[in-house]
């Protein structure tokens, strides 16, 4: 596979690991922001290959993990109302307060697992007598396609389609992590996929304000070790700037067309993050012009509120304050087959990644 195999090369990866080893002189905590990066680090066994002084902290960038419990309960309420609920695959096993979407399906709910929200618009057109809702979860990465589905539905006069929005943004979350009194992060690996859409300029201010290096990094083993090397080099040299390891994909200005689609449909608003709480200006809601595509308003499920499982420490995990195995429920009451909280559900979630893949942690 071109553009993949090159980034899984044993020799080049080893070379970067050696350079990290040679460069590092003191302990550093580096947070990889995106769940895809956590997955890549653990799936390829990279963490165990790093020098002890380089400690990777797994960030909040798993969309499944940070989607608030009440959003799942809202999706469940829609299923109970007979709505066809369409979702990305990894949302369906996340437990709501009583059950998961998958369990609701087994009880007779109509759930469709899709790879693209445009497919949901097609389902709506094919089922004019049914209501169809797409569970629009994710970061800046999934926002363009979700926004596009709304534009398509509007253009084609599809009135039985709407979206349940749970969109969150990466930079405000990084800001919230840095503002936490227990924060011990020395550098970030920025999420390469998010920057492919949004560009890198958003991080300039954050870097200056907090004097912290941000290295926009990809997902393949070589990307990750190179990104870590760049972060360690900055830290050791006492520098703090935005660097782009993932330049084969990420342009400074991002994807302008995608950004236009997003801003046409969505506007920035305060958002709840599972385990973290409300972060100001940290997500998207539908603009007033598109209110009739807002499933919360259309079906009156906006008021559903739910409490988290008391013993889940997802917040501390997502902020990097605690490691998954430091949770007293980890691997005991909380396992991927019976998750108490979201980080144990998605393979990108820090807890599930530790449970499934990691040998020594």
């Amino acid at each position: 596979m071109k553009y993949l195999n090159e980034y899984r090369d044993l020799e080049t990866t080893r070379n970067y690991l050696k350079r990290i080893e040679e460069t590092v002189t003191q302990p550093w905590n580096i947070m990889e922001v995106c769940g895809g990066q956590t997955h890549g680090l653990i799936k390829n066994g990279i963490i165990d290959l790093l020098p002890e002084k380089v400690r990777m902290i797994h960030g909040p960038g798993c969309p499944v993990c940070v989607t608030p419990l009440q959003l799942i309960d809202k999706a469940l309420a829609l299923m109970e109302q007979g709505v066809i609920v369409c979702s990305f695959g990894d949302m369906i096993r996340v437990p709501g307060s009583k059950k998961s979407l998958l369990e609701a399906k087994a009880e007779g709910g109509d759930l469709r697992v899709l790879y693209s929200p445009l497919e949901a618009v097609k389902i709506a057109k094919e089922n004019p007598d049914r209501e169809v809702v797409f569970f629009a979860v994710g970061f800046e990465t999934t926002a363009p396609a979700n926004a596009l589905s709304v534009l398509h539905a509007k253009k084609e006069g599809v009135t039985n389609y709407s979206i349940l929005v749970s969109h969150v943004l990466v930079p405000p979350a990084m800001e919230a992590i840095l503002d936490d009194e227990f924060c011990n992060i020395d550098a970030f690996l920025g999420a390469g996929n998010v920057c492919a859409i949004m560009g890198t300029s958003e991080y300039e201010e954050l870097t200056k304000k907090h004097n912290i290096p941000v290295v926009v990094t990809g997902f393949e083993p070589l990307d990750l070790v190179q990104g870590i090397f760049m972060a360690v080099s900055q830290l050791e040299a006492g520098k703090a700037k935005v660097e782009n390891q993932y330049s084969r994909i990420v342009k400074d200005e991002g994807n302008i067309a995608a950004k236009e689609v997003i801003s046409k449909v969505f506007e920035v608003a305060d958002r709840d993050w599972r385990g973290i709480g409300t972060i100001p200006n940290s997500g998207y809601v539908l603009r007033e012009d598109f209110a009739k595509f807002d499933a919360e308003k259309k079906f009156g499920v906006g008021d559903i509120n739910t409490e988290e499982h008391a013993s889940c420490i997802a917040g501390a995990i997502l902020k990097g304050i605690k490691k998954p195995h430091e949770c007293s429920e980890f691997g005991k009451r909380c396992t991927p087959s019976n998750p108490l909280g979201a980080p144990m559900v998605s393979s990108e979630g820090a807890c599930a990644a530790y449970y499934n893949f990691s040998e020594t942690h």
Binding site: M1, R8, L10, G45, D90, Y115, P221, S337, S347, E359
Partner: protein, 341 residues
């Protein structure tokens, strides 16, 4: 009723009533296609004479879509059960065949499936000796479900069981992994994903017979990694023997297209189903000979040793990644869920 008239019709509840319509369907489609002395008695069961240790295996097939690149549900129903009997170290000979058909299935599709079953049975050297056809109301099934039970004579040199797996044993796969599951995934509704990935559905009984003829008791365990994929079989071995199993990513055969589809859909090929693949756990002495023998056959052309059973007492499967890291391959919990990003 002539077959051409049948072909234009659809299956309805009458075809499962036990009355004249059932009789016509059986006479025109089933008995005509399979035409053997066991079925021709038109009895409820078959009488067999077997003077040997026998292996029996049963399986139900509910795949959606029922026609896919490389095979259809009918062939799958033969291969799946034939292979399960072969994995016991036996030579499959007889097959039972039971259909649950949802009313509304086109007769044309039903006949296509029955003919595929006949061809697959011929290729596998098995005879369909008894069967059943039920029809359920629309919405109570999903086009067609098939159950088959296979019977075979155990190979005189075979001694296959989990307790024969020993420290140092080599793990050999007969070909590239994840073909079937990805062929199905890429053809499911809603994915809008075009590829030329073809299911690997095939019978493995002759390949297994060659192995047992050649190496007998030195073949310790045989498994076909269908649902749950290669990881399912290996984690079971690690758990049942309490020995750590080590595999090497660089050695695992994987077709480019399948690897690419897995990347795009966010799936791990180790967890994806196979239908024409087996894993042999063999004495380390014969590793190379087994690989050489398998590669002589078209079905084993890409056979490879992918790892070994280690001496470490631990019920885990450890994968050595391409870049030299290690990770645990854990058992699959439910269906594999594609990731969001």
């Amino acid at each position: 009723m002539s077959e051409s008239k049948l072909e234009r019709s659809t299956i309805n509840l009458g075809h499962g009533s036990g009355g004249t319509m059932t009789r016509e369907l059986l006479d025109e489609v089933i008995f005509k296609t399979f035409n053997n002395p066991y079925l021709n008695t038109k009895h409820d069961g078959a009488i067999l004479e077997i003077n040997s240790k026998i292996a029996v295996s049963t399986d139900s097939f509910v795949v959606n879509p029922i026609f896919f690149k490389g095979a259809n549900i009918g062939e799958l129903a033969v291969h799946g059960t034939v292979n399960d009997v072969a994995m016991c170290g036996a030579i499959p000979q007889y097959l039972s065949l039971a259909f649950i058909v949802e009313e509304g299935l086109s007769m044309d599709d039903f006949i296509k499936i029955v003919r595929s079953i006949k061809l697959a049975a011929n290729d596998s050297g098995v005879q369909v000796i008894t069967g059943d056809t039920k029809v359920v109301e629309r919405g109570k099934g999903d086009k067609i479900f098939i159950n088959t039970t296979g019977i075979g004579k155990v190979h005189p040199k075979a001694n296959i069981s989990m307790d024969r797996v020993k420290v140092g044993d080599k793990i050999i796969v007969s070909g590239p992994i994840a073909q079937h599951g990805m062929a199905i995934m890429t053809q499911r509704e809603g994915l809008e994903f075009e590829s030329d990935i073809i299911s690997d559905s095939t019978n493995l009984n002759y390949l297994v017979k060659d192995l047992l003829d050649g190496f007998g008791e030195q073949i310790h365990l045989l498994r076909d990694p269908t649902r749950g994929g290669v990881s399912g079989v290996l984690t079971e071995i690690a758990m049942d023997t309490n020995k750590e199993v080590h595999i090497y990513e660089k050695d695992i055969p994987l077709e480019k297209q399948v690897a690419a589809a897995c990347e795009i859909l966010g799936l791990d090929p180790l967890y994806v189903a196979n239908e024409g693949l087996f894993i042999a756990i063999v004495d380390p002495e014969i590793e190379q000979h087994v690989v050489t023998l398998l590669r002589k056959s078209d079905k084993g052309r890409q056979a490879r040793c992918i790892g070994e059973v280690s001496s470490k007492e631990s019920p885990k499967v450890v994968l050595h990644s391409l870049i030299g890291g290690k990770r645990i391959v854990s058992p699959l919990i439910g269906e594999q869920l594609p990731r969001i990003c």
